[in-house]
């Protein structure tokens, strides 16, 4: 069993509004799975189905190979996008309460909370009320509460919203550490910067449909379009040299620095014959840069969504 969660043809609609249509996903164990898509695409609905907050109209969701059962909620940790805590309840008390709701015993919960409070350096907050804390501080508590029962599957919906960059980094490291320890993680976001750093797999959901999924590295490979960034140290005037090149290659953009005699350009190559091109170029000038442009997750995201829109 390599997948912690498998969704088969899951559909869900609210009245006339379709939130998910025929979504099939396989989420492998021990990886960070990015669930990407614009706002209102259906990510949250899918996550709520996994958490058994709502139920699919049709289709099937398997957790560790068996259909979702009420007992599974204690094996899942969920940090919702719309999150908060009881404002007038003490931090320690409500962390204990939420941990017990996830099935931990009181003493065990206390022990683990002590560990986490020390780890994130918030030990003295135990008797404070949430309304006395800043938003970022409350987010830390929220994170602890989510991971405290050591679930097999963790679901983070926009986990970094509300954090300053320093604390966001702390949380990111904690997430990576959790993965190392063997936890499977679903990471839902519409911000692409964090996807590159964290995700192993991604799925793209747009207007209730899945339009792309797979390993991030493979998707990137598939989205390569043979555009190369090239840097040359040339002997003569850049303009002239460029003209020679333009006769032979499809140059997209270029710039020339006369002081350094450095010519930079991007080129669209017809097919995978990089060796030939490289040898051709190096016979003419000193090649100091020759790299393929790999599309960012953001590019892929925008391109796929646009393609989908154009198809309609």
């Amino acid at each position: 069993m390599d997948n912690i969660l498998v969704a088969k043809n899951v559909s869900k609609s609210y009245g006339d509004y379709t939130a998910l249509s025929n979504i099939s996903l396989e989420i492998p164990k021990n990886c960070i799975y990015g669930l990407l898509g614009p706002n209102g695409a259906g990510k949250t609905t899918f996550i709520r189905i996994i958490n058994q907050i709502t139920y699919q109209d049709s289709g099937e969701v398997l957790f560790n190979g068996s259909p979702l059962l009420p007992e599974h909620v204690s094996l899942i940790g969920y940090l919702p996008e719309e999150r908060g805590l009881y404002k007038s309840m003490k931090v320690g008390e409500q962390a204990l309460y939420l941990a017990q709701l996830k099935g931990l015993s009181k003493s065990e919960a206390k022990k683990r909370l002590k560990y986490w409070f020390e780890r994130l350096d918030i030990g003295d907050w135990w008797n404070k009320k949430i309304q006395e804390l800043s938003k970022g501080m409350a987010q830390k508590i929220q994170f602890i509460v989510t991971v405290l029962h050591e679930p097999q599957l963790l679901i983070f919906d926009e986990p970094f919203s509300g954090f300053d960059p320093i604390n966001a980094n702390i949380i990111k490291d904690e997430i990576l550490l959790l993965k190392e320890k063997g936890t499977s993680i679903i990471f839902s976001t519409h911000r692409m910067e964090s996807v590159e750093e964290l995700c192993d797999h991604i799925a793209l959901i747009h207007k209730s449909e899945k339009i792309l999924d797979g390993k991030l590295s493979e998707i990137k490979k598939a989205y390569k379009n043979n555009i190369f960034n090239v840097g040359l140290e040339v002997a003569q005037e850049g303009e002239e040299f460029l003209k020679i090149l333009e006769e032979r290659y499809q140059i997209l953009t270029s710039s020339f620095d006369p002081n350094e005699k450095q010519l930079d350009f991007t080129v669209q190559l017809p097919s995978n014959n990089t060796a030939k091109v490289l040898s051709d170029l190096s016979s003419k000038a000193n090649v100091n840069r020759f790299e393929e442009t790999i599309p960012s997750a953001n590019d892929i995201f925008i391109q796929t969504v646009n393609n989908k829109e154009n198809d309609r």
């Binding site: 058994q52 999150r83 009881y86 017990q100 709701l101």
Partner: protein
């Protein structure tokens, strides 16, 4: 599952009981209530001690000794002065009013031309008393005209009260039905108050979870229905705690106040019933008050207390669950408390109707069609049926089939309404934004 429900109940209970305003209300309310009672008793006392003086300018020869001083009224007779002088001296002496009887040849003429002059609109008690004097005199005069002597007339005036008995021959007393309805009504009223106060608490607590956005964290651990149930039970336990504290501390305080301030609550009670006049006043004991007191005590002992209290518990629990689940679903449907008005009013309406229709129709006829209808209808039955029940079940009381039907209907309504409310709750807690319409609420039922 069960231990999670226990956790929720415990949290809701503690959150409520530790709440500052809840603590203040728990301590302050009995003091306020007892303070009110003491104040009313005190004011009644002052009111009683104020004697009203009416000056009488009697120019006729028909009235002489009829104006006798009573506990609250006395008369001053003016003689040989003009009406204007009488008016002036009445107001300068600070008397309550001036009664002027002109000189006429016929008593009817005197009566018709008599006036009561006062500074403001006169108190009805006073006008009634004065009218009584005239009426008696007029009746007496007409009877004399018909050949009845004054002595014979006063013999006719003997007060009379009819003897009451049931078919079984037991002697019964006046007003006992009303007392019974009042006792049942007290239970019904307690249910209404409890529902309105603690239903609102449930609603607020739901809104709080929604606005603090903790709701999604919690329902990823427990079922929304469990959360709703735990909330309702936890809040009602806090409510029962508060009620018990209120009852104990209020009765203790009242006891102390009566002991130390020497306020005669009994006198207050009779005063109240006296003024109610036409309501078969309970306080107007006929000839032998002792034996009648015994009868009242007997009748009250005869109220089927076990039945009354056990049905109170049934109606209380079912009624409270019905209404508080509606309150919970209202809380789930809106984002803030100001938006609740439109939904809360239709909820309070049947409760109010239960109390008012109950008191009017059950008072008049405990087994009339309106009383029966309202005691069967599930949204009002917890209040109205309890008013009818002190008469017992079976002969002379509530027919057994009505009692059973009312409970069956209540249970059916309980299941249906809690189910519907739970559905609205489940959808509503995750909905943010504008206040939904009734149409949208109806749509949610199909999600």
């Amino acid at each position: 599952m069960i231990d999670k429900l226990g956790l929720i109940i415990k949290r809701e209970y503690l959150a409520k009981v530790r709440n500052k305003s809840f603590i203040i209300m728990t301590i302050l309310s009995p003091i306020l209530i007892v303070g009110m009672i003491v104040l009313i008793a005190y004011l009644t006392k002052i009111n009683d001690s104020e004697k009203r003086v009416i000056s009488v300018l009697n120019e006729s020869q028909f009235f002489k000794t009829e104006f006798k001083a009573t506990e609250s009224m006395s008369y001053v007779l003016f003689e040989n002065i003009s009406l204007q002088e009488a008016k002036d001296s009445t107001s300068s002496l600070g008397y309550y009013g001036l009664l002027h009887l002109p000189n006429k040849s016929q008593i009817e003429g005197v009566a018709n031309a008599s006036y009561l002059y006062t500074k403001d609109n006169p108190n009805t008690n006073i006008t009634q008393r004065l009218e009584g004097v005239f009426q008696k005199k007029l009746r007496q005069k007409r009877l004399v005209d018909l050949g009845v002597s004054v002595e014979q007339f006063s013999a006719v005036e003997e007060p009379f009260e009819i003897n009451l008995a049931t078919f079984e021959g037991a002697k019964s007393v006046k007003g006992i039905n009303e007392i019974k309805v009042w006792i049942g009504g007290l239970f019904g009223y307690a249910i209404m108050m409890f529902i309105i106060i603690y239903g609102t608490f449930v609603m607020r607590s739901v809104i709080e979870e929604k606005t603090s956005r903790i709701i999604e964290v919690i329902i990823s651990s427990v079922k929304p229905f469990q959360l709703m149930l735990g909330k309702i039970i936890g809040t009602s336990l806090a409510g029962i705690t508060q009620f018990v504290i209120w009852i104990i501390s209020a009765s203790l305080l009242l006891f102390l106040v009566v002991l130390f301030l020497d306020i005669d609550l009994g006198a207050m009670a009779t005063e109240n019933t006296m003024t109610r006049g036409n309501m078969n006043a309970v306080g107007q004991f006929p000839a032998s008050p002792d034996s009648d007191m015994m009868l009242y005590a007997m009748e009250i002992m005869n109220i089927p207390w076990a039945l009354l209290i056990s049905s109170f518990l049934i109606y209380f629990i079912l009624g409270y669950f019905i209404y508080s689940s509606i309150y919970a679903s209202i809380g789930a449907a809106v984002d803030n408390e100001t938006d609740t008005q439109q939904f809360v009013f239709p909820v309070i309406l049947p409760l109010m109707l239960g109390i008012y229709v109950g008191f009017f129709s059950v008072f008049g006829n405990p087994h009339g069609p309106v009383a029966v209808g309202f005691s069967l209808f599930p949204l009002t039955s917890p209040i109205v049926m309890l008013m009818r029940l002190p008469g017992g079940i079976g002969e002379g009381g509530v027919p057994l089939w009505q009692f059973i039907l009312s409970i069956v209907l209540l249970i059916m309504a309980f299941l249906a309404i809690v189910w519907l409310a739970a559905k609205i709750y489940r959808v509503g807690i995750l909905m943010y934004g504008k206040r939904p319409t009734y149409r949208e609420l109806f749509k949610w039922l199909r999600y």
